[in-house]
Symmetry: C2
Subunit: 381 residues, 2 copies
């Protein structure tokens, strides 16, 4: 028996008052509470063919116990429940994959791959449009890069207006906003937004004043003859981790005090309030939101104003620090996609001589991750 | 001078090392730090015409001080900064509106209007399609009801396919998903989702397995001749507050332990992990996510499994408790909209005799709130 088989082979069952202890072939021990087992019974009366639960979780007695329990000839656990005689059967591989021992949970958790400027030496995540549009394997690879790095570049996208939404159609859906289904980024007279000037833009996330924020942004280069206008990217998760280690007090302020962001034009009035660094309930960095241009006046208790400015300035200066920045120049036909909740993007200023024309659009991660998961299922089947 | 004028009249300035103290006509005292004042200078070099900040916040000296400072003849505060001679001028009404004394912040904060079953006696929030489609005042009122209550009903929506997206076009944008731009909710053979059966559905939020979750859902009734199929709504914020008071330990578990939700079909594989009750960084309830059908097996430390089931069951039973439920039956031409991060919706089962056909779509709150703010600006201008 190999190691893989040992991890899903049940050696012994210990039946206690409220839970079942399972000893596995590799020495690991799992605890499965009876209420959890009944709740997750996979039989057709308990789960619809769509995978959705039919069991009324609220109706399971918390002190539910098995009438009988054994490992059957196939190696699965067979239970008959004492309260209503319902029979359940649990595959060992499924049980092991759902073991909630803290060490097993930690092992299964996928951490993002953090990066800084050195990623430029190792090679930026890239793909080619004609390949990902025609080959599911290539598409899966490119989508996996977006997921692991929080961004990726795509070459060879036809320099036709609207192609950026065609790229989105490969994996998901455009998020339409007041900026349209797609928007043009170039210098214009009387811009409603500083993006539509030749000014340099420090690294930022887009639309921090919007809730829900668009989780993906794509920018596609149609024309680029102007000097400058290089794209810069910073891994906000990496920067947040750096700050947490180097300056825990700054990290604490930036992750607990909410900042309001605001954008107004004649036909739009958007406002949202979030801390710059968002943590999940387990204290892990789950999102970054930063755009100095649209931050509203801070509103904290007065004794927090100065400490917060100190932390905010530190964060902004780190964003400008080249050791964290990936930099490249989009040529016509190039596109980049960023996870707008993780990776901050900016640009160097560009001259008014020559032309720089990008088209952008927003989309959401749910579609991208779903497409990646389905492709992975199909390609490994 | 009336009370309103007193609140924006500056009586005295006290100039200290790092901040300015302002005494107002109504007796209130505000503290404004110099770094904050410089950061929020409203002059055209500091703010773009779009309202976006041009000041490099990271470059403001934390010990910045005024060279001179006085209340000018119009009642505004005029400052010349010592470091670079830049001149700033602050309107008293703007300053008072941005005073960050905790009491002033609390006064400005809008709390949602919580409701339970008794709202049915007081009258449900309603509007009429022909009115909101033709009159901005009526549209503003209806959108304000959606914002304050987290839901509203609309009557008189033509019973034509696709009208639900026309309603969205009055205030925002459809969120397209794997279910399409719009979807039909009726009994079908081989449903990919339990929504497409005649089964009763307990109160839930839609798509908890999606991140970002759609923040608005609309359901439009085209046909309704089946027995049953009443709509039920529960104010998740109200329920969470009730739980926080009555059973703080259950509230703590539900607001700190993340639950994974999952949905799979042939072409879709969605997964997202959030606590059932989401809090903002100030501990206020900011979102609710609940759907027993799509909750994946819990994965907590083993000693939390039983306490969590107890809390979860309690929450699910409260959702079923009629004292929290608003109930109504959609007639053809009726539509309801819910804030899918706050209000849970469900339905009673319906008979296979007769027909019940709803069309639904998702949208997002940002557009709705923006439209409401712009209408409010225009109608009060």
């Amino acid at each position: 028996m190999n190691q893989e088989q040992l991890t899903t082979t049940i050696i012994m069952l210990l039946d206690s008052e409220r839970a079942l202890t399972v000893n596995w072939g590799d020495g690991h021990q799992s605890l499965f509470h009876y209420v959890w087992l009944r709740d997750n019974c996979p039989c057709p009366q308990s789960r619809h063919a769509s995978g959705q639960r039919l069991v009324e979780t609220a109706a399971i007695p918390l002190d539910i116990r098995p009438h009988s329990l054994h490992v059957d000839e196939s190696g699965a656990i067979a239970v008959v429940w004492a309260n209503d005689g319902h029979a359940s059967r649990y595959e060992p591989a499924w049980l092991r994959a759902h073991c909630y021992a803290p060490a097993e949970q930690a092992r299964r958790r996928q951490r993002p791959l953090l990066w800084e400027a050195t990623l430029m030496d190792r090679g930026l995540p890239r793909g080619n449009y004609s390949e990902i549009a025609s080959d599911n394997g290539a598409l899966r690879e490119w989508l996996a890069l977006v997921k692991s790095h929080g961004f990726a570049i795509l070459h060879g996208v036809p320099t036709e207006s609207g192609m950026v939404t065609e790229v989105v159609a490969l994996f998901g859906y455009v998020r339409e906003t007041n900026y349209g289904r797609l928007f043009d980024v170039k210098s214009v007279a009387d811009p409603i937004n500083l993006a539509y000037t030749g000014l340099a833009l420090g690294a930022h996330t887009d639309n921090p004043y919007r809730d829900p924020v668009p989780t993906l942004q794509l920018l596609h280069c149609l024309t680029s003859s102007a000097e400058g206008g290089d794209s810069t990217l910073v891994d906000g998760f990496g920067l947040a981790d750096f700050l947490r280690q180097e300056e825990p007090e700054s990290f604490r302020l930036l992750s607990t005090l909410p900042v309001r962001f605001r954008f107004r034009s004649d036909d739009t009035d958007l406002s949202a309030e979030f801390p710059l660094i968002q943590l999940d309930t387990q204290g892990e960095v789950a999102g970054v939101r930063f755009n100095n241009r649209s931050a509203a006046p801070f509103a904290f208790a007065p004794d927090l104003i100065e400490p917060y400015y100190r932390a905010y300035q530190r964060f902004a200066r780190l964003l400008d620090d080249q050791r964290f920045q990936v930099r490249f120049k989009l040529a016509p036909g190039d596109l980049f996609i960023v996870d707008n909740t993780r990776v901050l993007h900016g640009r160097t200023g560009f001259a008014s001589a020559g032309e720089r024309h990008l088209q952008g659009c927003y989309a959401d991660r749910d579609g991208l991750y779903s497409r990646l998961a389905v492709l992975s299922r199909q390609l490994t089947a």
